[in-house]
Symmetry: C2
Subunit: 168 residues, 2 copies
Amino acid sequence: MPLMKQSTVPTDDQLILPLCSIFRRFLKKQGLKFTPERAMILDAVLEKEGVFEAEELLYEMREAKHRVSKATIYRTLKHLLEANIITEVLIDSKQAHYELSFGRKPKGHLVCPETQQVIEFPADELNEWRDRVCAERGWDPVSFRFVVYGVSPEARSAQSGEAEDGDA
Amino acid sequence: MPLMKQSTVPTDDQLILPLCSIFRRFLKKQGLKFTPERAMILDAVLEKEGVFEAEELLYEMREAKHRVSKATIYRTLKHLLEANIITEVLIDSKQAHYELSFGRKPKGHLVCPETQQVIEFPADELNEWRDRVCAERGWDPVSFRFVVYGVSPEARSAQSGEAEDGDA
DNA sequence: CTTGCTGCAAAAGTTTTGCACACGT
DNA sequence: ACGTGTGCAAAACTTTTGCAGCAAG
């Protein structure tokens, strides 16, 4: 495989350095600083596959003996959002869920409330919807979220045991 | 167009009675009771146009001299969700937003984070997406949420005053 | 009557903030 | 050096829950 700049969707490893500098540049532009804590948090975010939560990051960084406070995690997530490196995924209203989004095509999420499963699926075609909906009203499109709720096979089998519904 | 039972979307007034009995029937089926508080909350929900929050209901019912506690509102909203009379609209992760959904076609939501505006738009065609996404993975489709984020014209003009971005 | 319901206030869970000190730039 | 950042713990907020008395079926 010959050398290529970064054309197709890069793997995680290929992503780490570019994202690091992108974040750095973003921070500098805002007059903010690139601290070890922020670097560590970005690293932790890059490790994650799919959706994650703030508390999850905190826990994993503690495991890895990295001392970062909850407050710093929340503060940094905010910057990562502004830098468009991560995105909020709206799964439930109780808690924020995030996902690495930099350089990736838009994704939808298939969620099973019973089992808490979250499956990602490609949803780039919905950009057309996004643009049309905005255009029709004179808005500038920014992004979209598409979440499908369903019953996963796992939930369905788990459900078998519980008689409940019976229609009127 | 010959006579039809209740084909088109009914107006709010037409909705009140049916929904009341539907809620009643739902409660009975679950062995729950139809109390004045629950009736009042359902009424308040029917008054709302578009998206609303729990705290909003509480406030408005206080205004109307209806004594209902916060706890009861939350508890009732939960039942209304189960009865499929209202739906959670996922706009941000901080707070739950609800919307009357009974007998209505699926809607999408256009949100401007700057101005807090929320505009509803028809999105029934996305049911096909929902079904396809589920079918491809052996899930049973339940529902979906489609939220588009954008900058509203109002936000754009408000923004004019603030110089900030300038690219690197 | 029996069982569930309400209100209150306290609890729980997530996210934010004030402050004193420490550290990138 | 200056201006931000960090950790900690307390605060802020939304939502849930335990309990004693009350009301629907």
